[in-house]
Amino acid sequence: MNNSVHYNTNQGVQIGSEESPAATPTTFTNGTIKCTHDGVLLRKASVEHIADLNTSGALSIIDYESPHRLYIEWRPNDNILVADDSQDWAVVDTIPRRSRTISECKAFNIKPSPEAIAANKPRIIRTRLDDLSTIIVTERGQVICFIQKSDNFKHSEFFFQHGNAEQFLKSMCEQHMIELTGSRLDGVAEYTVLSTETQKLKRTFAELNIGDMKNSESKKEKGWMRNTWSGLLINLPDIASSVKSSTPRNYTSRNVGVHSCSSSSEEHSPMDGEIENLKEEDEKIVNTLPERPFVERTKPLNEAQWLEFHTVDGRISDVDRIKEIIFHGGIHFNLRADVWKYLLNYYQWNDTEIERIQRHKEKYKEYYKMKAQWLSMTTTQEENFSGFRDRKCQIEKDVKRTDRSLDFFAGEDNPNLMVLQGILMTYVMYNFDLGYVQGMSDLLAPLLAIQGNEVDAFWCFVGFMDMVFANFDIDQAGMKAQFRQLRDLVEFSNPRLFNYMVTHESDNMFFCFRWLLVWYKREFSNDDILKLWECLWTRLPCPNFHLFISVSILDQQTDVIIENKYEFTEILKHINELSGHINVKRTLENAEAIYLQIKAADNLPNNIRLIIGEPVIDNGNSEKEEEQSENGTDTADDLYEVVRKPENDRRQEEQFDEACERSMFLNYT
């Protein structure tokens, strides 16, 4: 028989199958694939399969002619290929030769390919569908677990690497093999495996087209999917979440009669009541933000434009205009090396050509002077200088694992790694107190790759560090201050998310740690990070605009976070996993739009004004009323002092620390 498969129970597992008592080989013939999904990792199974744990394979439901039963089968793929190690916990593509279809569920009568059948491996996991009682879906649809009938224990568990199990289960439902019997808001769902008889019955009903039954089934499924599945979108770069949040949101109070909402669903499911409540809560906050304006990125600064800005003696004229162009469109690739030197305060806009050459010379000298200092350190000196040793040692550890996926740093013994190390060591001598802190190599690597020159990269790096040095405070004061500011911005611009975070003990914003520490370096591809950074280096349109990038990403993730009911740890996990899936263009546009929206707000409180560099006001309208009346000062400058007065700072800090603690030590009850 051509399509026959020989299957030996001694080599595989087969539980509770009457047709195949152990040690009696069973012959499986003429299998028809009912549905299949590739890229499914084996997460758990009985001991025999330990070698295949975490291996990727195809999960299928197969109908064999002999023995005539439905079987669940999982076959490992042979070639395991780690494709992408540039991202922290990125999904790794383990299927080199197959297209990454999200699902390949087929309805009926598709014969498995002869090779697939011939390649019968003892490693196959196969069990009769009849021997299973339940299928449990967890982790937002990515993990499914088969429970066996005999003892209600887990038979096996699988992880869907690409997409999720939705299509697979849907196909099983449609073929009346299983039935959705329970789902919870946190995404856990349960399907009951239907007995062969029930399956037949259901199929007959379906053929008779009993509409009601079908409808109620699909309705149940829809509600469940809408509320629990949205979390999966994070793995598919910005589809639904972005569609939703691209409509400008308008947080008006109900009295004004404008209904603010971001969800546009028409069908009603039990969840809708809850969403409704949330919306109402939103609207209680009297926070009238104007329409979010439409912002679109423009073309990058090009060579012709750049030359136009050069005066005869080599100064750069109209710096504001240049920065504006860069802020809105970035810089053409060829110009980056040059223009970055200005943006990073290495070259001065106002220097003539001659002055610039002079400065360049001096900076070279200065660099090599500092470099000579550590190069000439003797072994004894080093032994007696633990502060230096520690810094050196950490640099060596990090240089090895910084941006190795970029061509510029790829490969064993890449000489650019030594340059990277040299610059970081020299920076230690330039600013010994700050020295070297993890994360700094991330900031330097792209600069070096663009400058392609040790000295220029160093001075650009100095300029960049001047903008972000507070991130590396030993007591994390700089980071904490930014979390507070970010919290204020989210509170003001996105009360829906803010309220959610407060009630879910996540308002410390701690999950943005990596974003802020290295200015989103780990979240974007190299190309995108260059675009983002050059935009942020212009320091337009306001101080702390880098925080608006966070506000913008969170804005795009608001629905996902709320609808999935993420708690602190899940938010952190979700945020970490966004890496590589954030659209830089939209994020920048959205960030600016939110900034403009906030800036145009009527009752801009002083805490927000301080963050975005607007003059603070003292007209009694502000939300910081108490602080003003207490002091009774009139001038903006004095008020600035008031808002920042130490006790206030301390109180805020205490509150913040408390919030931090609260969410970090969640009580799991």
């Binding site: 996926s405 993890q438 994390q476």
Partner: protein
Amino acid sequence: MATTARSGGNASGSSAQRPNGTQQNKNCQFKLVLLGESAVGKSSLVLRFVKGQFHEYQESTIGAAFLTQTLCIEDTVVKFEIWDTAGQERYHSLAPMYYRGAQAAIVVYDIQNQDSFQRAKTWVKELHKQASPNIVIALAGNKADLSNIRVVEYEEAKQYAEENGLLFMETSAKTGMNVNDIFLAIAKKLPKNDGANNQGAPAGRRLNDNENNRQTNNCCK
């Protein structure tokens, strides 16, 4: 022999008897934190355990990563909530956030690096002083695949671990050696009683997912 689900129909007598006569898995959830000097391989161990992968150029950890993985031991499903921390001393001030409330910790050192072993000892001390009193601590001598250039002797670490009541294994995230095993050993040592969730005492939180689902199942019928 880790991450195995039970097979076969030979239900063991230790599993809880449910009213309707079927046996029920116990579910426990534990918070586990990885500590240790930078570049000893904390993230690599987690990546191996959770995803079965190893990246030669694993990026340094910034802030913290949170991952989960589930193990089955006999009739108990143990879910680890794993906090992978950044190793550099500069980020030490964040560490208490992660280890406080943790029921288990893996303190990692690199067998080629004496300093990292000393640092591991300091972590153990700090945990004994500051973490939950019943925290289960495992010491992992990582990069065991480089044992030919080791500087920390197995016996030395073993003895230290015994004196301080730690689980101890040499591991290799690169080859996978002892990686699942160390997590499994921890899971075995953790109390899996399903008594009331007493504050402070590190008993795993019992989950009732399956139970609830079963019930939904019944009442839907």
